[in-house]
Subunit: 509 residues, 2 copies
């Protein structure tokens, strides 16, 4: 069997740019995972880990011109967006380095003996340790931020876990370059190259999730691919945590009051959000509930104007373009669905943005229109017009889990008048991030961020962005009656590293 070539492809032309690598065989996946497993110990020192993450950030910046050029050639996302995404990626690596330094994520809890308790409490000292090798499945739509040096890699390394990245086939050349930057940074701190492995190929990805030495996985991609890997992770003799981000509708509710006061602004804002990055964001608003009547009509008109002005764009690859055209066609053909601006092909390689409208009453029952409650990747959104509160509520009750849920309010509603609080309470069970008067695109890197949501948004309750993402790659262990000389310094009474801890029940900072 000859090794299958891995080509770098230009989505603007559909042409092969160069052969980058070959797909990894089962033996090569095994060797890569073993090399990562062997590198675990090297990541034990938190000071080294933090320094490595900072060097990785600096390393990306040093060769940013080359990286952005290659990323643009493979993704067509454009240098402006990619420059921002690289900056975000470097910022994220440094944010995790700061988190490693602080050490709060170790969740240290110390209890001294209490013979009077029922049953008696011995000396107990708990903290969190890294799980082991983490498999990272890179996304297509963020060649930097959710790929080789992206959030999953950064949080796993911060946790002390070596990673093996399964490269996304849409940007293999960039993946190789970024992996080199990471390994050079690792070498600069005496870390073995095995702390960041890279494999190409669909089968390699399946081999990876089944490998006995892989201890956890992070994934960003489609429902179909993610669910297949989730199922494989659960079916292993020893199941492992699978933190997958699969698909998200990201509903938006516009109240009558908001439409009355801000139809123009909301229509234009929606157009900008749904077409950002040619609609290829996991948090693209995919269903917008707009009231019937004149104010809602005004909003739709503003959306028409803004979307009509949007330039056609190139999708990440031709498979996605085909899926977008098919998905839009299938949706547009449903009864009572209209296309005020028809999304579709705009040239051999580009697509034009558009949107569909449908009466909300069509979404309140089982049937063909349920398709409109599934994500359609690309520059399209569905505007559902609701006649009253009951129709709105009935649609919300049928929505799957999403990464985000958004509400557009009037100033009076935002000040607490009317039913805005109960609307927020109704949106909260649907999503991991709830927004007021904003748009879901743009996911800040911040301690409070939560990028995850009820299935199919994510397969676990965790986040892939923000400080708490590190929790996914750790497990607690408690030492009982263990003499100080045998304890790590983090668990000693004198707290030489000055960590925040819970000490005899009391939180100490």
């Amino acid at each position: 069997m000859t090794a299958a070539p891995v080509w770098s492809v230009d989505p603007r032309t559909g042409k092969h740019r160069e052969q980058v690598a070959v797909e990894a065989t089962a033996d090569e996946v095994d060797a890569t995972v073993r090399e990562a497993h062997a590198a675990r110990g090297a990541l034990a020192d938190r000071t080294v880990r933090a320094a490595f993450l900072r060097s990785a950030a600096a390393g990306l910046e040093t060769v940013s011109a080359l990286l952005i050029e290659v990323a643009d050639a493979e993704s067509a996302l454009g240098p402006v967006r990619l420059t921002g995404e690289l900056a975000r990626t470097a910022y994220q690596l440094r944010a995790f380095a700061d988190l490693v330094d602080e050490g709060a994520f170790l969740d240290v809890v110390i209890d001294h003996p209490d013979p009077a308790a029922t049953p008696p409490v011995p000396d107990l000292r708990r903290w969190k340790i890294p799980l082991g090798v983490v498999a990272v499945y890179a996304a297509s739509n963020f060649p930097f931020a959710f790929s080789v040096a992206g959030g999953d890699t950064a949080s796993a390394l911060a946790a002390g876990c070596p990673v093996v990245v399964k490269a996304h086939p849409d940007h293999p050349a960039l993946s190789e370059l970024v992996a080199k930057v990471l390994r050079r940074a690792a070498a600069g701190h005496g870390l073995p190259a095995g702390v960041v492995g890279l494999v190409h190929g669909f089968t390699a990805g399946v081999d990876l999730i089944r490998h006995p030495l892989v201890a956890a996985a992070g994934f960003t991609g489609s429902v179909r691919g993610g669910r297949a890997l989730f199922d494989a992770a659960a079916a292993r003799p020893v199941p492992i945590p699978f933190h997958g981000e699969l698909g998200s509708l990201n509903p938006v509710v516009v109240t009558e009051g908001a439409a009355a006061g801000r139809a123009q602004e909301i229509g234009a804002g929606l157009a900008a959000s749904m077409t950002l990055g040619v609609g290829q964001f996991c948090v693209k608003p995919g269903l917008v509930l707009v009231p019937s009547g004149a104010h809602g009509d005004g909003l739709v008109k503003a959306l028409m104007d803004a979307v009509s002005d949007t330039e056609p764009g190139v999708l990440l690859d031709h498979r996605m373009r085909d899926a977008f055209l098919a998905g839009v066609g299938e949706r547009a053909a449903l009864p009572e669905v209209e296309s005020p601006v028809t999304p579709g092909a705009a040239g051999a390689h580009t697509v034009g943005a558009g949107f569909l409208t449908v009466p909300a009453a069509r979404l309140n029952q089982a049937g063909a229109h349920e398709l409109l409650l599934e994500e359609c990747f690309g520059p399209v959104t569905v505007v559902a017009r609701y006649a009253d509160e009951d129709e709105l509520t009935a649609v919300l009750d049928r929505l799957p889990g999403s990464l985000t849920a958004t509400v557009q309010l009037s100033p009076a509603e935002a000040a607490g008048e009317g039913d805005a609080a109960s609307l927020l309470a109704r949106l909260t069970p649907l999503a991991g991030r709830v927004l007021v008067d904003g748009w879901p695109t743009g996911v800040a890197v911040a301690p409070a961020q939560h990028h995850g949501g009820p299935y199919p948004a994510t397969t676990s309750t965790s986040t892939s962005v923000g400080g708490t993402a590190v929790e996914r790659w750790l497990r607690p262990v408690v030492y009982q009656n263990t003499p100080e000389p045998l304890l790590p310094p983090e668990l000693r009474d004198d707290n030489p590293l000055n960590l925040p801890r819970r000490y005899d029940g009391v939180l100490e900072r």
Copy 2:
């Protein structure tokens, strides 16, 4: 179809005591889950939740005499042990009430806008919300502490989740009584009865895990039963978290130095730990690595003496008795396995404790002896004699995940001399609790406790005992740019409830 009767059975005689209930039909499971789901909102108030948990503890104590009598009749565990277990259960309910009051588990993180960040940070306010209805699968071996009012129920209610308990068939009468105590406590605080549901029957347990409104599950039981439910939870159209405690070998390593100095004490301590509760603890030491030679021989002799003095006991049910006798027989028949004190039948309903010995070299390869690395529920342990460090290491490298791993050291080793630190480092990947010079039986209820471990000990990285158990029933949600009037008080700047929070990156207590 007639409803299948649920009988209370006396394990001391094998006789039916009384018919307690009937097995729940699919419709009854559905109704119970819907009632629980409808009760969610009632648990939103943390003050009420904490008061409810404290009333439940007091309620158990009020009728403790009756509860212990019924528990003893159904479990044969004896009033002394059961009195302690009930006290532990009440203590646990109160500990979770304290945790609810403190509110640190809400994990509040607040970030104010930072337009200079890449990308810009909006106003973000994160906390954790309850997942929804939790299915609790009660254990046989702790009719109070891991059953209807046990740890899973207490932590789920503390999180704000209604529970539906699948009763263990070994103590259905007690389960009904305890559920009544919980519901009476709920009613005393104006909470609906649906906050604690109870169903009987194997099929009901399967229906429960598949119910669309069940949001998570906790389980304590066998590898076979737990894995089947784990698989069902993962195979749902919407998978849910399944926190199962399945099986645990709980290895113990005795160093040459420890055997030299404390052969008698260790032999006696081991006998007490492995026969406690007729060997029916999930943390029973099931494999003990003892050095070859005279000191190890002395330890085995001490173990013989102590185990020989142990009275026969009654196992929880006859199915377990059959499994114990079969499991012991199969293990004892393996080549080079000896039985210094033969475990086995000691009457029509009782069993006698015993232990097996085997050369550690037999455990270093695939084959029939791998059976000795699986848990055998009941009063038996396996003593593996190791000739040297290499043999010991080779066995440790083959061990499955456990709840606990224990090492018995000499005083010099405990003071840091020799290789004790590396031995501890070798045991840590195997378990969730690592003990020095103690015995794993006896799981303290304390903030630092971790009762969980690598698969098959548990199916997740979480704990079922200790304060952090509450984390299993929560998921984070973040509010973006949400006006103060629409925020819960926990997320407001002025922190009216005085919660510990991370505020603009800084931990505040």
